[in-house]
Symmetry: C2
Subunit: 212 residues, 2 copies
């Protein structure tokens, strides 16, 4: 039976820290394309993607469950009812590939985790979902490894920059432009984004549209 | 024969972007302890560490070659003379562990590379060093993969956040405090650094010394 890959998603007004370079509509488009990249990677790794959305959302062929709850509350209610293996993976990881997902779900430990940059948690694999509860926000990586210890769950930290790199801020678009291969990097390029190098530091610039 | 792991190093006034939180002497100490963490990881992975230093420097039991040249010039002169396999790994990667190094040096391709954050290159493994030349600074990851293509060298991108994470700026100390296990994180803690969480964002704070 394939492992279910649960992807929490907020389709409305997402990625507000990118407001400096993207309009609300563009941020919604980018979020939609990033989750498609994640869906493609987990599917290729043999998982069954399922989206846990805060608002009505649809993606052809993919189960979407709408729960108007906070991230922790929505996920923990889901975990309680789920005795099978489960992968929880964030929607803003457009660099993820199937190899990284396979390393995660093939752990021999009770769970595996990939930290995000800045102390976050970008993916958790649980061999028995109901044995765990999540506590996102802040230094959630430390909270999740502590919960694992408290519950006696052996835990592997999986070493992947592709899952480690979430897209929240303008600087993160550098990573997407350099290492992306999917839908979302093509969209960024269509919007006129490219790398810029000033004083040896790599950033992004956006070509202005004709009328701007 | 063990793979030589060449570690370029600048022991004098290093890591200037950390000047906001560390004195010059502290930056030198931190750089010295970070390279010890790298030396420990490559040694545990079965490599023979060798330091290519811009200034006189010594580490017990480790070969140090001093070349007063820029990074590219010093490395490329070294590469020309080296027909054997070689790992080039940066000195500011205190999260690196032996598993990540083993994945890198066990590639089946002619070379393997791990990108740094922001388009840099944090490690390159070459099955035949003299077949390559390096071009660091700016988006060096793109330059290095281009050089590989031009020279017909098959190249694997190794997916490791432990090698991806270099320590250049204050924000990078968050990663070291969370994921570090070696000499350099202990030094940071001795200096009074700890995590701080404000409005859900994780940063670092430094306890003031008594007299300050």
């Amino acid at each position: 039976m394939p492992v279910t890959a649960l992807i929490p998603f907020r389709p409305r007004n997402p990625k507000t820290r990118l407001s400096c370079v993207l309009s609300e509509k563009e941020r919604e488009n980018l979020a939609d394309l990033m989750i498609r990249d994640v869906v493609a990677a987990v599917s290729e790794a043999g998982c069954r993607p399922m989206i846990l959305s805060t608002h009505p959302y649809s993606l052809p062929g993919i189960d979407v469950e709408v729960r108007e709850a906070g991230l922790n509350e929505g996920l923990n209610r889901f975990l309680e009812e789920w005795d099978d293996p489960l992968l929880i993976i964030m929607a803003d990881l457009p660099l993820v590939d199937s190899d990284a997902v396979k390393r995660l779900i093939s752990t021999r430990k009770k769970m595996a985790i990939v930290p995000g940059r800045g102390g976050g948690t970008n993916a958790i694999y649980l061999s028995k979902a109901s044995s765990f509860r999540v506590d996102y926000y802040g230094a959630s990586f430390l909270k999740h490894t502590k919960i694992a210890r408290e519950r006696g769950l052996s835990c592997q930290v999986v070493d992947s920059f592709r899952i480690h790199t979430d897209v929240d801020e303008k600087e993160d678009l550098v990573e997407l432009l350099i290492h992306g291969t999917g839908f979302s990097v093509r969209y960024l390029e269509e919007l006129g984004f490219s790398l810029s190098i000033e004083k040896g530091r790599v950033g992004v610039k956006r070509e202005k549209n004709g009328d701007e």
